[in-house]
Structures are given as C-alpha cells and as structure tokens.
C-alpha cells in the first residue's frame, strides 16, 4: 500500500492540553480515508496540522517522501494538499463566482500578474462557473458570499476546494448543516472525484452512514490519540468505538440518508 501522506508521532499541545497525541498514520494514495471521533477528539486539529494552519509541537509529516513539517500552509497547498474548513471560511464580500475564481486562479498559477485584466483569463472564469454548477450553486454566482444560507456556504467551500485540484482533499464535515435533499448530491460529487479523478480523499464526518458508504479505511481519534483503524465494518463493530463515539446510536434500525 502506497502512502501519499504519512505522519510520525504527530503531537500538538495547547498550553498543556494535548489535542493531538502522537498520531502515526499512513494515508494511502488514491483511497478514501475517513476520520471519526467524538467532539474535541482532535480531528480538525489534525487537519490543521496536515494543511499547515498549525505547526506541531512534535513529530513530522511526510508527503510523497518529502518532509513537509516546516512548510507553510501556502506551500502545502501548492504541493497538492487542499482542504475545506469546518467553520465556513469564505470571502464574505466577494461574489460567489469570485470566491471560486480566486481558487481557480491560484491553481492556474496566475498569481502575481499585475498587468493583465482579470477578464483576460476567460478560461478561468468558465472553469469557476462549471465548478459552481457541479455543486448546484450556479444560481447564486453573483450573490455576495455573505448572503448565502448556511448550506449554500458549505457548497461554496467544496467548490473552492475542488478548484484547487489538489491531489489530496481534506474535507472537514463538508455536509454539516446541509439539507437532506442536498447531501446525496454532494456525496455523488465526492464519489465522482474519487473515481474519475483519482484523488486521495480524507474526510471528517459525524454522519456514520456516509462514512460507511464511502470509506476504504476509517481512523478513529479519541482524546487526541489514534484509538483504532480499519475498514468501516470493523470499526462499527469495535466496542471501544461503540462506547466512545457511537453510543449505541448506530444500532438502530431506522436509517435515513
């Protein structure tokens, strides 16, 4: 199994509180890995470490055989690690289209051009528009991002992430607050990427049915430590996971999407 991303004893503490505790994992190339764990287990923090928002107290991160522990968030994005945010994190006063175009522009490496008019780059705008269609947000292309409903902002997040075309996609609860009607569509988008574009995807979610449906492998974080890992089926059966995370909820018969 080829690991595209690997952590070694990754640790971070915030003033004594150890949020991620010596986590060593392999993220297999072109596979779908999910991370679950109770609230405050350190999932988002783990993402922040991977994407460079935070730097670890200890341990290292290796991406394609290269130690990137000291790289900045910007550099990691450029290397191919892209992420979405759990708390919606967009450019509030720019239009939806501009939000995505900025991501497309970065991907196309049109970064420091001060001379040309932005409209000169027609293809970028088209691509941004296509991405909006992909997440069903084309109607809102000209609205300011701040005016979107919560679920719509989440879709925008996904479109911006897709625009970066990174090799790894780190998705932090992409469907939180998204309506039941839309969730399957987003899942389809994610599936489509996984299958047709050969990306590596890492997903944080609390929706177990989604995890079951999509994952090749599941990692369980608990109090910052790696509690378990395995296939979805193994994980659901794991008793520790049951008591720490699922709380019997998942036993129930009733299941809605």
């Amino acid at each position: 199994m080829d690991a595209i991303l690997q952590t070694k004893e990754l640790t971070i503490s915030f003033g004594g509180h150890i949020a991620v505790d010596s986590v060593s994992v392999h993220i297999p190339m072109k596979k779908f890995t999910s991370i679950i764990g109770p609230n405050g287990a350190g999932k988002t923090t783990f993402f922040n470490l991977l994407s460079g928002q935070l730097s670890p107290t200890k341990g290292s991160i290796i991406y394609k055989d290269k130690d990137i522990t000291k790289h900045s968030a910007t550099e990691r994005t450029r290397l191919g690690i892209g992420r979405s945010f759990q708390i919606t994190n967009v450019f509030p006063n720019l239009t939806v289209l501009e939000n995505v175009r900025l991501a497309v522009q970065s991907q196309a490496k049109v970064r420091y051009n001060m001379i040309a008019h932005y409209r000169h780059f027609k293809s970028l705008e088209q691509k941004a528009y296509q991405l909006l269609e992909k997440v069903f947000l084309q109607d809102k292309a000209d609205s300011k991002a701040i005016n979107l409903a919560h679920g719509e902002k989440r879709k925008l997040e996904i479109a911006m992430l897709l625009a970066l075309e990174t090799e790894i996609l780190l998705l932090d609860e992409p469907t939180a607050g998204m309506s039941l009607e839309e969730v399957p569509a987003i899942i389809d988008v994610i599936k489509h990427i996984k299958q047709h574009e050969d990306r590596t995807i890492v997903l944080i979610e609390h929706k177990m049915d989604m995890i079951m449906d999509l994952s090749d492998e599941v990692l369980v974080l608990f109090h910052g430590e790696l509690l378990a890992k395995g296939t979805p089926e193994e994980i659901v059966k794991n008793e520790m996971v049951q008591s720490a995370y699922l709380g019997g909820m998942y036993d129930e018969e009733e299941q809605f999407t």
């Binding site: 928002q53 968030a73 994190n89 450019f91 006063n93 522009q105 420091y112 001379i115 932005y118 970066l164």
Partner: protein, 333 residues
C-alpha cells in the same frame, strides 16, 4: 458587469481627463490652478493610500512617511545641486528608491501585526521620521524648513499643472489595471479573509509587501509633486495631519474605488477653499472650521460608503465593500 460597460467607463474617464487638459486655458488664475494642482497631487496620494485601505484592508496611520521621503529627497537634491532637470530627475529617482526600500522594510516589519496594532506601529514609524527630520537640522532645516529653486521648465504654473495631471492619469489607469488584475483580486481576498487566502496557495505576506511598496512609491511620488508645487519644504510633510487628511479624502470619496480618492481630494480641497472663503463674507463664518467638521459628519450620514461608493451602490447596484473587515463576525466564529 460586462466587458462593454467597462469600456464605457474607461471612455468616460478618458473624456474627463481630456477636459482637464483644457482647464488651464480657461482657469488662468495661478491660485486656482494651484488648488487644482493640489487636488491632483492629493488625488495621487489618496489613491496610493486606498490601495492599502480599500483594496488590501490595511489601515495605516503612517502613510505620510513616504510622502515626506519623496518631498525631502527632491528638495534636498535640488537644494544641494543646481536647479536643472537632471538634478530634479536624480531627486525623483532618489525619492522613489528610498521609498521603495523603506516601504519594503516597514512592510516586512509591520505587516504581520493585526489591525490596530499595525496602524499604531506605522504611526510610530512615521513619528520617528518626523523626529529625524526635526533633528537632522543641517540637511532639513528642521521645522522652519528651507526654500529651493526649480528647473526652468517646471517653474511656471501651467507646466506644473500638466505634469501633475499626466501623472494623475497615468497612475490612475495604472492602478486601475493593477486592481483589476489577478494580483489585485488576491489583494481583495486578503482584505476579506487573510487566512483563507493563504490556504488557497497565495503567499499573503508577499502580496501585502508588494502592495505596501507600490503604495509607498506612489505616495513618495506625490510628495515629489507636492514639493515641486510648493518650492518649500519643512517638517510638516511628515506630520500626522497629512496622513489624516489623506485618510479623510480616501474615505469621503469611497474606499475600494480609485476614482473615489480623487473625488475625495477634490471635495476636501474645495470645501476647504470655499468654507474658509466664507469668513470674508460674514463674521459669523469666522469659525468656518465648524462647518468643515460638519461636512465630514454629514458625509458619513448621507454617504456611508463615501461619495463614489454610495452612488455606485445606490444607482448601479454594485457591491461595494466596507473596506475593513468586520471583526465582530470573524471573532465570533
């Protein structure tokens, strides 16, 4: 907004520029020309400020330091050498180079600070320049300042007018292109959400420093023009009042627009001229500054986004931003 409407606005701007070329043949009074020249100069200065405030979302209280650098570099060069075109050009070159270096250093030093802290640090640095100008009396003449001679060709008012007008037009269109370039869009995204810009793969500090250098160099050039129009320099070119003036012009015109600062400069200069003139009409207007202050207040009430900003938002339904992030929202998250 489509390509066509952009073209239209470019034409309008060009037409206005053309009209301005005719003005000196109609307005021949040197004093009125001097006022218009000041508007051009402060228009340039305010645009450079808006690149920081309106486009990148940085409030600086020390922008005057670049203005002063431009002013002193030119004045001292002209004073030390003879009053010829080459020494003027040398002065301008020195002004721009020093401003570029200083704005680069200041940018690297300060831009990692957040909002108020950044603003105050720039205030401090500009304050240090003021003290330096005061203390380095042998070169600057201190607070009393000194006068100097100008090369023949730019000595008369007409040629100063054209020099400033051409500079204004070139800088306006230059900055307009810059803000509409992919680079400019990244600046705006920094204004909106710095951290997110970073995670899209942009090196935010680079952008901010570049913006600060461009802005500093232009401000320095405004200082050069100012000193040419005044033929006299003293420490007031480093005074905080000047930063405040330019800040006001930018805000009154509308942050985040380029024509705004120019209109702001015009409005402030004319309001000033007109209101102070009132004091001769009737003694009741001796305290015209009260009216002047009231103008600011009324602008905020009736044109909350600045003159241009508000008009754009009202009549063209264009989205104009407040310029500065509303921290309340980001903090709460």
């Amino acid at each position: 907004m489509n390509v066509r409407s952009i073209d239209k606005s470019t034409w309008i701007y060009l037409a206005i520029a053309l009209l301005l070329f005719i003005v000196p043949f109609i307005v021949t009074g040197r004093s009125m020309q001097f006022i218009i020249i000041q508007i051009f100069i402060f228009g340039i200065f305010a645009m450079s400020y808006d690149l920081l405030l309106g486009f990148t979302g940085i409030i600086s209280f020390g922008h005057v330091m670049f203005f002063g650098i431009g002013a002193y570099s030119t004045a001292v060069t002209l004073d030390r050498f003879d009053a010829t075109l080459p020494s003027l050009l040398l002065g301008v070159l020195i002004a721009l180079v020093i401003a570029a270096i200083v704005s680069f250093i200041v940018g690297v030093l300060t831009l990692r600070l957040k909002s108020h802290f950044y603003a105050m640090l720039t205030l401090a640095l500009a304050g240090l320049f003021l003290v330096a100008a005061e203390k380095w009396r042998s070169v600057t003449g201190g607070n009393d300042g000194f006068t100097f001679r100008l090369p023949e060709i730019i000595r008369d008012s007409q040629s100063q007018y054209f020099l400033c007008l051409i500079s204004l037009i070139l800088i306006f269109f230059g900055l307009r292109r810059l803000t509409n370039s992919p680079f400019g869009k990244v600046l705006m995204s920094i204004r909106e959400n710095e951290q997110r810009t970073e995670s899209l793969g942009y090196k935010v500090l680079h952008y901010k420093v570049i913006a600060s250098v461009v802005s500093g160099v232009i401000a320095s050039f405004a200082g050069v023009l100012y000193i040419i129009s005044l033929r006299f320099v003293n420490t007031s070119v480093f005074a905080t009042d000047v930063t405040i003036d330019v800040l006001l012009m930018t805000i009154i015109g509308g942050v985040g627009t380029l024509i705004g600062p120019i209109i702001g400069a015009g409005l402030v200069e004319f309001a000033h001229h007109w209101l102070s003139g009132l004091s001769e009409v009737h003694w009741i207007f001796e305290r015209w500054i009260i009216l002047y202050g009231t103008v600011y207040i009324l602008v905020v009430i009736f044109f909350p986004l600045g003159i241009v900003g508000t008009i754009q938002a009202k009549f063209f339904g264009r989205t104009v931003t407040k310029g500065i992030k509303d921290n309340s929202k980001t903090k709460a998250g």
